[in-house]
Amino acid sequence: MKLELRGITKRFGSLVANDHIDLTVEPGEIHALLGENGAGKSTLMNVLYGLYQADEGEILLDDVPQRFRGPGDAMAAGIGMVHQHFMLIPVFTVAENVALGHEKVRRSGALDLDAARAEVRGVADRFGFHVDPDAIVEDLPVGVQQRVEIIKALARDARVLVFDEPTAVLTPQETDELMAMMRQLRDEGVGIVFITHKLREVREVADRITVIRRGKVVGEASPTSTNAELASLMVGRAVELTVHKEPARPRPGGLVVEGLRVLTPEGVVLVDDVSFTVQPGEILAIAGVQGNGQTELTEAIMGLETRVTGSIALDGQELVGASVRRILDAGVGFVPEDRKIDGLVGGMSIAENLVLDRSDAPEFVTAGTLRRGALDDFARERIEEFDIRAQGPLTPAGTLSGGNQQKVVVAREMSRDLKVLLAAQPTRGVDVGSIEFIHSRIVAARDAGVAVIVVSTELDEVVALADRIAVMYRGRIVGIVPSDTPRDVLGLMMAGAQEAAA
């Protein structure tokens, strides 16, 4: 089925998110959509999917104009979408999520979940992976949740599939599998729109590339373009794609983690006997597939986990059992994995978010009162320094685009006197321009003598930043290796192979 968008315009108040966008997706084609954060990609796709009504323009399927009043209509017309933010009900099982909206019902009136289970298995078998239809979605690793989204779309026989940043949360292997899946679908004649910030993926899988900037199509690119070409087309300037860093000069001291173990209240071991050291002036990257205990490890260091045994010492000071407040005061900075949950208070302004963990600092508070002038100046400086694209310090953080939200969090954590910086997935969902910037800031922090821990599922990022790499698998560190370790070795370790064996 051929999809054609003609002159789509979508305004939010005075903001023109999509400005007369034309886009054609042929059947059996993977069409990549590139653009920096806030360029209007998601908006365009939401218009296509019937979630938003376009202000102008039309949507044609096989040259027939369509009128979608809601996603129901779009789905009926054969459009499927894997949303950037998963549209899954966290408390439902996989089967329930897949069934929702087109449930099969037994004669008794009861829901026929067996049909849904069969659907799940059917799709999974077709693409050669495994998903438990009865698992609760919120308990699943994000990679698996992603698959549930895909199953949802495929179970409805979509002829045009939209993937909105599907790889932001996937591991390299998962990404490879997803791309294989996309190719398979393409070969079956499905038209695919693929949105991503990762240029490598685009070049690998796309048949055609459209780049949009500030709501307008700025051009097409061929899959043979270099990363640098694509990046500059996207951002509108030349982008440095490799991180320049001097060799590390570690100093004595730093963070010493020994025999760390984290349990759930039920006694499930999430982090198992983990020991490592990070010295000031070096970056330790913790690599691993999502869901192997990295989240819990960072949360344990930050004092956010309750059932922790072992020792975490910062310059000799024990942090296990200390409150988050004391750990922050001890000089630990934390960029959480999920900025929307743990990083920002969406309804509060950028200025307020920037001082969230320092709301008692004398430079911002006099006699219990916030010094708004100081807050404002501080925010302006950070906005300037970190290139946060916002209307001003009073803009609510929740209305920023993803990349800019991430920059607010990074700016907050990096503008304190730190001894340790703990950055989990620091560039998730962020466009190439911003990645460059965040990486350079992390390296600068290292060079200033901060002990840095970067947790990332992104091998590119790990390799680019790390001085040493610790690989986690099922709650354990399977090995700590130098940064020049070959990728395939890292890949094997991430699958559980011991360092020596690998």
Binding site: I89, V91, L100, E177, G496
Partner: protein
Amino acid sequence: MTNTTAPASVEAPTVVRVRRPKLAITLGVLTVLLAALFILAAREGWTTFRLSGADALIPLGEVSIPTAPFVWGTLALLVALTAWAVADTLAYRRSPLWLSIAYGILALFGFLTWAGADGLVPVISLLSGALSISVPIVFGALGGVIGERVGVVNVAIEGQLLFGAFSAALLSSITGNPFVGLLGAMIGGVLVSLVLAVFAIKYLVEQVIVGVVLNVLVTGLTGFLFGILLVPNELELNRPATFDRLPIPGLVEIPLLGPVLFNQSFLVYFMYFAVAAVAWGLYRTRWGLRVRAVGEHPQAADTVGIRVNPMRFWNVNLAGAIAGAGGAYFTLVSVPQFNEEMTGGLGFIALAAVIFGRWDPIRATLAALLFGFATNLQNLLSVLGTPIPSQFMLMLPYVVTILAVAGFVGQSRGPAAAGKPYIKG
């Protein structure tokens, strides 16, 4: 080797043994309290338990037991059960469910034996009274559960009960038919929830405001109509035909539980049906799946073609109908007359039961039953004569609820989108 990408769902995680001391501590504290009561206020004499109604097929009759020996015996058993729980905890075991149940029954038995020294403990009446008190709470809570599950917080349960009670009384009096009254009650409940639905869903008014205001509105309206309509025409308009007891042959002969559960009026059987239907519907049908989806993540529901706001609208009204049926209990079963503000705050207890029951119809029902039981136990204890001032006795159900919530339930998570309006972009 594709499964490396999803290890958590494939391989079983390592689990270490952890101690869960909560149960042991709770039982320990309870045992100490009971022991203190039994020792400091020791009572002698005989306690009589009435175990069946006068006309039971299997007459269990009345059983008299010597108070002191039985109290001490029970206490010994309670100590033993507590020790068991402690041993389990020390050995990293999870105590079996029967232990808690056995403890609960024994503790209650011991306490009643103690309290009923030289008195009569009418067991059937205690239990069926408890059931009776909880009926409107159960209906209200069911309405609350459906409302919140679909994403609309319903603080107007009190108003729905009250308006249900009013319209039931009026219609049943006029027609002389309690079923018409019940229908009227449900329509009354719907009228209230219609306002809630329109204002909360269409006009995006804060749901809690609408709820609180509706309670005021209904209080005022029923108060006014009662004054100008029912009082002057007492005998014509405020003498509803009621639902009579309808013993279910056979079932009612089950010792102890039969007369409690199956010697009730139509409305109570309707309640059993409603609880079962809502529980089944919510978890086993398309309707339930969609309701829960809309209340958890309306946008996700929208993306699969479920029309969120109509879904909310109709279900809020369904919830109103069910809560309204609870109102009918006041005037078609309990007391065959409508009186001003006769719901006496039970709608708010129902609201608490919704949360206490973690937004689950069965658990909310159990929470309502617990409240009813504590209330009726209070009744019994003050009839048996205690030196405790009536005000402290009357606190009992509320204190019990707090203890239960703080001690056993703890953190609970409601439907994620409850209370939040859904507006499409």
